[in-house]
Amino acid sequence: MVRVEFLGPIQKEALELEITNLNELAAILQKDEEVKEWLANCAVAVNDNLVTSLECELKSGDKISLLPPVCGG
């Protein structure tokens, strides 16, 4: 089971999903009405490390975070 967390202004509870890679996550979230509008501008972290490609294998216990556009200061 992989946990998917939505950070900052994305108002959505975390998901627990049986997936093995980020391509599967992309397919699931692209069908999710609450989240799909955010996807084009969200960064993705696996276990708190930012990733820049979908070529990333996942294992049970991994944590994925979606980070929408930022503005500190």
Partner: protein, 148 residues
Amino acid sequence: MLSLYEGALDVPKILKEWYEAEATSNYGAYIPFVGTVRSEDGIEGLSFDIYEPILESWFASWQEKAKEKGAVIKMAHSRGDVMLHESSYIAAVFSPKRRVALEFIDEFVEDFKASAPIWKYDLKNGDRIYAKDRSTAIRGSGILGEKQ
């Protein structure tokens, strides 16, 4: 050194603590940047969410870069609400000579704006509204979106 606080920063206290901590470290330059909430567009204040694990690793990579130049970076940021004319952000660089600190504070604050996992909201008429138009997508964003 990265410090996070609930609500507004006590700017004189933090600047004094940092100054005193490095007073005998033989740095020739101490260049702080203080970010203060301005009155504009009818806001009552700003509010912030922070994702700490990635903020810490982002900050650690900058501290390494600073170390290579013999410098040190300190940063303080607020969580939650910060009202008009209060401050939510302080960054400072200490370095042996001024040029390194002047250049570093500029690069650091620019990358902070583009990369640090902090989300800003306007406080207006009792609502907390995501500052979407002023926000920047982190480099590498969009991989989960539909292919163009």
